[in-house]
Point group: C2
């Protein structure tokens, strides 16, 4: 039996405490699977006395995370502090510099500083592992880096934020508007007090940038991600989507074509009966398309104590077994700088909802604009009109260029008979 | 850069040729991801001249697979010959004995001899890798052994045979009976000339036994798998399933409870809108339940050249990177002999279809039998009766004991008014 792997956990919030619980509960099992013991020898946390539902005795307790790195007997540091800079970043840097392995669930940190950190890891021979940073308990990093490593990837896409998926699912199930459901999600702890990170798509963008780099072997480029969140999704759009056989999801989608890499995060209409259409509540799913394997889907809980801890401990087990790889599969110096494809170059189908006044010639004006932009309509819906009510006109299109659609919507918005800015949602066939 | 990994491919059928294609097409990518070259230096095949759609020049060509093991420069042998004994088995044994790594897609071999082979591998320090043996291109072995290794598993279940899933999907989509669809599947190469292995559930049983051992850390026990195939599935049962909100799938299900391990392969009714219910055609899906992560689903193509090659090459890449693990996660000597739970002890919901003659008292007799066995009915359907036609009575039950259901069906079959053996299909909530 090999010597134990000594680990320190920085931060004992949900993820840190969850990691400790799994390591304790399944200690025998994990030891058998690794061929060595995993000992948690130190933790750092501000509040020692707090009840976390797990026994925290028998470990060294330090108040500053940086003290963990100074302990020569620590082999691996679990970073669960969070945040893109500050303590988390300096802790991970100093740990890797000291040749200590790091396991983290911090997607913002990896999305912004992953490459610099990976370089340090490559130099010192330590592992930087971050399975828990993307899609919670779903082993998608391992899938891209190892299980499907035979493939050239051309697309990765998924529901990567459990909060947004929970909100969208609840809106539809309860027929409640965005603000009401968000407030409820905040009350039960599914959304943060400041929800912008989740609902504006930033968290999804972080995760998408990470899996894009892994999939295509390119430099991580968080700034190149096009991002739209879910604040403007209405029940009305959900009802029309339903009539059309769709459901609305916030997706992160990344494609690698001859035009370059396009990373985008925005609400999408997807077929109700599709794999991705059925993923509800706080579940995540990631679809990967490889040249040999075709489409593979990974689905599971995207957040929560147990799911995140499963991935953190999975990484620890890998390292305990000697699985020390390049954090981005290939050395950072060999990652390609691939051209960035613009959103204007996207070819997609579109859903457009227009609130119009009911008078002759309105439809003719709208359809002429589509015609002039070379946009071919696929379906047309109009809700039953009551006297004095605004008419909702819904158009779906065949595949067209995003640039043409934007131009068309600009012209349509300028029509006097269109009384709200047009509502546009892209339709994805996944 | 490390020295190249030299591999030999035994057998150049669909899997062997597919492996060669992927290794050639993605050679640069794979080299970057492994940090070393993968060289195919030798192949064995009976027919050198056959066009396989891939360049086979530059390799040593031997007619006997056993000659590959004799080549000292070969580091790894890919076994794609197939079969549970004979050449495949002796090749793998001799390769592992010689300290050469083995990658195989041969589920029958692993299900029957996996443990003996793993012991040889453990002794010689070689790796025995078999990702392609279960669920084709879906990296489920890696998921159980590594990505989700933090978890105590209590259930694994899935659609593990693409041929059966294709047949069941086609029967329903085309409203054609089993024999017609099987003939068509054979014509297009989706089913073998002798289809028994697939349609009688044996192939699913092999795969289930493998993932059961991996999930629970127990001895592989193929003989303990309860097996029913899909020969008796009728369009009539599919129609009733549809009315009830279900679809019929052949599942392999393994559970680990206080009563022991129960492995079973049989047709199931699953909710149409469930993850597993939507997996159609030749796709496979595996659901894993872990104590930390909850439910995780892996879905992708279960067979075919590209999907299988993806997993074979994934294993090769792992080995090239130095990922030499115990083939069954923990040493074979440490695998537990867990008690076998009997089918009689299964608690499930049931669908029962009875063809009865239309005369007074029939239903009373049937329902009395259910009552006497303590079986609680959940729903009741009867198809519209035309004069002189047999009446089809469909009953679904609440959760009950398999033993009680078997006893009830025996009594019901003995009723003079029941004119066919009862049709019973278990209902699974996955």
């Amino acid at each position: 039996m090999n010597k134990p792997l000594n680990i320190a956990i920085a931060g004992l919030g949900t993820v840190g405490a969850g990691t400790l619980k799994v390591l304790r509960r399944n200690a025998g099992l994990i030891e058998a699977r690794c061929g060595r013991k995993i000992n948690v020898i130190a933790v750092s946390s501000r509040d020692k006395g707090k009840d976390r539902g797990v026994d925290v005795s028998g470990m060294k307790w330090v108040s500053s995370a940086s003290d963990l790195v100074k302990m020569p007997e620590v082999d691996l540091v679990v970073e669960t502090i969070g945040g893109v800079d500050g303590v988390a970043r300096s802790l991970v840097e100093s740990a890797l510099n000291a040749g200590k392995h790091v396991v983290t669930a911090n997607k913002a940190l990896i999305a912004h500083h992953g490459l610099e950190l990976a370089k340090i890891a490559e130099k010192s021979g330590a592992m930087l592992a971050y399975e828990a940073a993307v899609a919670g308990g779903v082993p998608i990093i391992k899938g891209l880096r190892e299980g499907l490593a035979a493939n050239r990837f051309h697309k990765v896409a998924g529901i990567l934020n459990g909060t947004c998926n929970f909100i969208l699912t609840s809106m539809w199930n309860k027929h409640q508007d965005f603000a009401t459901v968000l407030a409820e999600a905040q009350r039960i702890g599914y959304a943060e007090a400041d929800p912008a990170f989740d609902i504006d798509g930033i968290d999804t963008a972080h995760k998408l940038a990470i899996i894009t780099s892994l999939a295509y072997g390119c430099l991580l480029n968080i700034d190149a991600v096009y991002v739209e969140g879910i604040r403007n999704i209405s029940i009305l759009d959900m009802e029309f989507a339903d009539q059309l056989g769709y459901v609305i999801k916030l997706l992160g989608i990344s494609t690698h074509t001859s035009e370059g890499v396009l990373q985008r995060v925005h609400p999408c209409m997807v077929a109700k009966m599709s794999t991705i259409g059925r993923v509800s509540d706080a579940y995540n799913a990631v679809i990967v398309e490889g040249d040999a394997v075709g489409q593979v889907t990974f689905e599971g809980k995207g957040a929560g104590e147990g799911a995140t801890a499963s991935s953190v401990v999975g990484d620890i087990i890998d390292i305990a077994r000697g699985g020390i790889y390049k954090p981005f599969t290939i050395p950072v110096a060999a990652l390609e700088k691939l051209p960035v494809a613009t959103m204007d170059s996207l070819k997609a189908s579109y859903y457009v909802r227009l609130a119009v006044v009911d008078k002759p010639g309105v439809l003719a004006a709208i359809t002429s604009i589509f015609r002039d932009e070379g946009i071919s309509m696929c379906s047309f819906l109009q809700n039953s009109r009551k006297p004095d009510e605004t008419v909702q006109v819904v158009i779906t299109t065949h595949e067209t260029l995003e640039l043409s659609m934007r131009n068309a919507l600009k012209s349509i918005a300028a029509l006097g008979s269109v009384i709200e800015p047009p509502h546009m949602i892209r339709i994805e066939n996944l």
